[in-house]
C-alpha cells in the first residue's frame, strides 16, 4: 500500500521549511534525508539512547519517535541551530566549547543529542546541580566517555567558568 504524501511546513533553526513526505516518516529521517541536516544521529531508533534528540516547541524530543506530520507548524531546533553562524566565522555555542575543552565528546555519535539535552537542561536550570545534570542527560547514552567528562562539560558551560584543567589521561 502506498500512502498519500503530505506537504508539511515547520521552522527548523529559525528557517521556514516545507517538506513533501509520507506523514509517518520519522522527523529524524526528514531532517537527515530531506533537509540534509545530518548533525542529528540515529542510535537505537526506539527512544532509548537520545542520539536523535532535537528540540520541538521548546521541549526535548527523540526525533526518531516523531511522525513528521506531528511536527506541522512546530519550531524545531537541531544541533546545527546551536551555532548558526559557524560557517560565516561565528562562534560555537558555549556548550560546544565546553565539550571540546573538557573532553565531553569522543566518537561523536551521542554528542549532538547530548548537546541538545544539555541545552534544554540549562535553559530550565541555568545552574544545575549534579543530580539535575544526571537526570537531564539520563536519556542520552554515551559508550565512550563514561559520562564524567560530559557532566563536567555541562558544569563548565553553565558556570561559564574557565574550563577545568585537562583531566588525567584515562
Amino acid at each position: 500500500m502506498s500512502t498519500r504524501w503530505d506537504s508539511i511546513r515547520f521552522t527548523v533553526n529559525g528557517q521556514p521549511r516545507t517538506v513533501h513526505a509520507p506523514p509517518m516518516k520519522r522527523l529524524l529521517d526528514v531532517l537527515r534525508e530531506d533537509l540534509h541536516l545530518t548533525g542529528t544521529k540515529e542510535g537505537c531508533g526506539e527512544g532509548e539512547c537520545g542520539s536523535c534528540s532535537v528540540r520541538m516547541n521548546g521541549e526535548l524530543v527523540n526525533s526518531c519517535l516523531v511522525p513528521v506530520l506531528q511536527a506541522e507548524g512546530a519550531q524545531i531546533q537541531t544541533v546545527e541551530g546551536l551555532a548558526p553562524d559557524l560557517d560565516s566565522g561565528g562562534a560555537l555555542h558555549p556548550l560546544q566549547e565546553a565539550f571540546l575543552h573538557c573532553g565531553g565528546a569522543q566518537c561523536g555519535i551521542c554528542t549532538p543529542g547530548m548537546l541538545m539535552a544539555a541545552a534544554q537542561l540549562i535553559e530550565r536550570h541555568p545552574h544545575p546541580s549534579q543530580a539535575e545534570i544526571r537526570e537531564g542527560l539520563a536519556g542520552n547514552l554515551c559508550r565512550c566517555t563514561g559520562f564524567a567528562r560530559i557532566f563536567a562539560s555541562v558544569v563548565a558551560a553553565a558556570t561559564h567558568a574557565a574550563p577545568e584543567q585537562e583531566p588525567d589521561a584515562r
Partner: protein
C-alpha cells in the same frame, strides 16, 4: 528503520469532535496515536500492524489540567512533563508527580501522555500504581456520549481495556482528599531513568489511633495488568500495625499476586520484592502513626516533597546556605512531617564539616549589618536576607554605641577565628548579642567553631519552622 512509512496512513484532524466522528464511522479501523513513544517504536521495528492512524497530539480538548473543588481532572493528552511541572499535582498528588518524573527520560516525558500510558495497557505502566492508590476515575468519550468508571475497572486483561472500538480515554479524575493520608511510592528497576518497572507499588493510608482506617495499594508488574491489591488491603484494614500485621500482609500479598518470568526479572524476585515494598510501607506507617486529629500534611512540605530539584534546593538554601547540607536534604525527600524534617535536618547538619559550616555562616549578614558576605543563589538569598532582618530586629533598635561595639567585636572575632560571628539572634537584644560575642571571643577556635555550628543549627530550625508555617 525496518518499517515502511508509506505502508501507514496518518491524519491529524486537530480537534476531538472530528476524531470521534472518524472512530464512529469506522469503529476499529483507526488507531489513535498521541506522542508516539509506543507506536513509533513498533513502527521503526517493522512491527506496527495498524495501517490507519489518527493523531491525538496537541488536541486542546485532551490537553488540560483542571483543578475543581473536589477533584483534579487531567486530560488524556497531557504529557508527563506537564504533570511533573504542575504545582497543584505536585502539592496534592505527589505520588503522580513522582511517577511522572521517573518515566523514561526527559525526551520521553515530553511526548508520552497520561492517556497513552493507560490505554497501552502495559502491566508495568508507570502512572498506574499512583492512580490506583488515589482512587482515580477514568472518563471515556465517543460520538455516542461519555461514561465514567473507576480506573481499577479500566484494565480487563493483558493489554486489554474497557475501551470500545469507537471510544477514547478523555480524562482521569482524581479526588482531592488525600492530604491526611500517608503516601508511598516505590519503583524497582535496573536504573532510575529509562527502566521499566520490575515491580512498583503505591499506597495511600489513613491511620487513626494507630489503626489503619483506609488503605489503597496499587501495584505494577505483579499481574497481567496494573492492579489494586484488595486482599492485601483487607488483611491490613482495621488493624494496628504490628509485626503480626506485617506477616499477615506479606502472606496475603504472596497469595494474591501472580508475577511472571520475563526478560526484565523473574517471578520469584518480583514476589519477594513486592512483599518487601508492602512491608516497607507498613513500617513507615508504624513509625509515623499519628494521633487522631493529626494536622493535615504541611502544605509547604508536601509541595517541597514533589517540587523539582532546583526549587527544592532553593528553599533549603534559604534556611541554611551550606550547599552540601541543602543537597542532602533534597535527597531525603519525601519527608513525612515537620518532626521528621527537623530530625533529618539535624542529622545531616551533624555530618557536615568545617567548609560546610563556614559556607552557611557566610550567608548571614554580620550582626548589626544588612548584607551577607556571601550569597548562595538569588532566590534563596533574598528569602534568607528577609529572615535575617526579622531575626536581627533586636540589632535594628540598638543605640549607636552598641552598634559600634558590635562592629568592633565582629572585626576582632573575624580576625581571631577567620569566620563571621554567628548567633541565633531571634528574640535577642543587641546588648545580649554583644555580651555573647565578648564571651565567645575568649574561646579557643575549635570550641568556637562548634558553638557557631550549633547557633547555625538553631537558626536553621527556626527558619525551617517559619518556612513550613508560611
Amino acid at each position: 528503520m525496518r518499517g515502511d512509512p508509506e505502508a501507514h496512513e496518518l491524519i491529524a484532524p486537530g480537534n476531538l469532535a472530528a476524531v470521534l466522528q472518524l472512530l464512529a464511522a469506522e469503529p476499529g479501523a483507526w488507531t489513535p496515536i498521541a506522542g508516539g513513544t509506543e507506536l513509533m517504536v513498533a513502527h521503526a521495528a517493522g512491527r506496527l500492524t495498524a495501517r490507519k492512524l489518527v493523531s491525538l497530539w496537541e488536541i486542546p480538548d485532551l490537553r488540560f489540567i483542571r483543578v475543581d473543588e473536589g477533584t483534579i481532572a487531567i486530560g488524556a493528552g497531557v504529557p508527563f512533563i506537564d504533570l511533573r511541572r504542575n504545582a497543584a499535582i505536585a502539592a496534592q498528588l505527589p505520588l503522580l508527580a513522582r511517577a511522572a518524573s521517573w518515566l523514561g527520560s526527559i525526551a520521553n516525558q515530553s511526548r508520552a501522555t497520561l492517556g497513552g500510558n493507560l490505554v497501552n495497557g502495559s502491566p508495568a505502566a508507570d502512572s498506574s500504581p499512583a492512580l490506583l492508590a488515589y482512587d482515580a476515575q477514568v472518563e471515556l468519550i465517543s460520538a455516542r456520549g461519555r461514561r465514567t468508571l473507576p480506573y481499577e475497572k479500566f484494565h480487563t486483561g493483558y493489554k486489554r481495556t474497557a475501551l470500545a472500538p469507537d471510544e477514547l480515554l478523555l480524562a482521569v479524575h482524581l479526588p482531592r482528599r488525600f492530604a491526611r493520608h500517608r503516601q508511598y511510592l516505590r519503583k524497582v528497576g535496573t536504573r532510575r531513568a529509562m527502566a521499566i518497572a520490575k515491580v512498583a507499588l503505591a499506597g495511600t493510608a489513613l491511620v487513626e489511633e494507630n489503626v489503619v482506617r483506609e488503605l489503597r495499594l496499587g501495584a505494577a508488574s505483579v499481574a497481567p495488568y496494573p492492579t489494586r491489591l484488595y486482599r492485601t488491603e483487607e488483611a491490613i484494614l482495621g488493624n494496628s500495625i504490628t509485626e503480626e500485621t506485617i506477616r499477615t500482609a506479606r502472606r496475603a500479598l504472596l497469595a494474591e499476586i501472580a508475577p511472571i518470568d520475563d526478560i526484565r526479572s523473574v517471578a520469584e524476585y518480583r514476589r519477594r520484592v513486592a512483599a518487601n515494598l508492602v512491608e516497607e510501607f507498613l513500617r513507615e506507617l508504624m513509625h509515623s502513626a499519628a494521633p487522631v486529629d493529626a494536622p493535615l500534611m504541611n502544605a509547604a512540605l508536601a509541595a517541597w516533597n514533589s517540587a523539582d530539584e532546583s526549587t527544592a534546593l532553593t528553599q533549603m538554601l534559604a534556611c541554611c546556605g551550606a550547599r552540601r547540607w541543602a543537597s542532602a536534604m533534597v535527597a531525603m525527600r519525601p519527608v513525612q512531617d515537620q518532626e521528621a524534617l527537623l530530625a533529618v535536618a539535624d542529622r545531616i547538619w551533624a555530618a557536615m564539616e568545617e567548609p560546610d559550616w563556614r559556607e552557611a555562616f557566610a550567608c548571614h549578614p554580620r550582626i548589626g549589618e544588612r548584607k551577607a558576605a556571601h550569597a548562595s543563589a538569588p532566590p534563596s538569598a533574598q528569602k534568607s536576607a528577609q529572615w535575617s532582618r526579622q531575626e536581627q530586629s533586636g540589632a535594628a533598635q540598638a543605640e549607636a554605641r552598641v552598634l559600634e561595639e558590635l562592629a568592633r567585636g565582629n572585626a576582632q572575632y573575624e580576625e581571631r577565628f577567620g569566620f563571621t560571628y554567628i548567633v541565633c539572634a531571634t528574640g535577642k537584644s543587641a546588648e545580649e548579642m554583644l555580651d555573647l560575642l565578648n564571651r565567645r571571643l575568649g574561646s579557643d577556635r575549635a570550641t568556637e567553631l562548634r558553638e557557631a555550628a550549633e547557633q547555625q543549627r538553631q537558626i536553621t530550625e527556626i527558619r525551617l519552622r517559619k518556612w513550613m508555617a508560611a
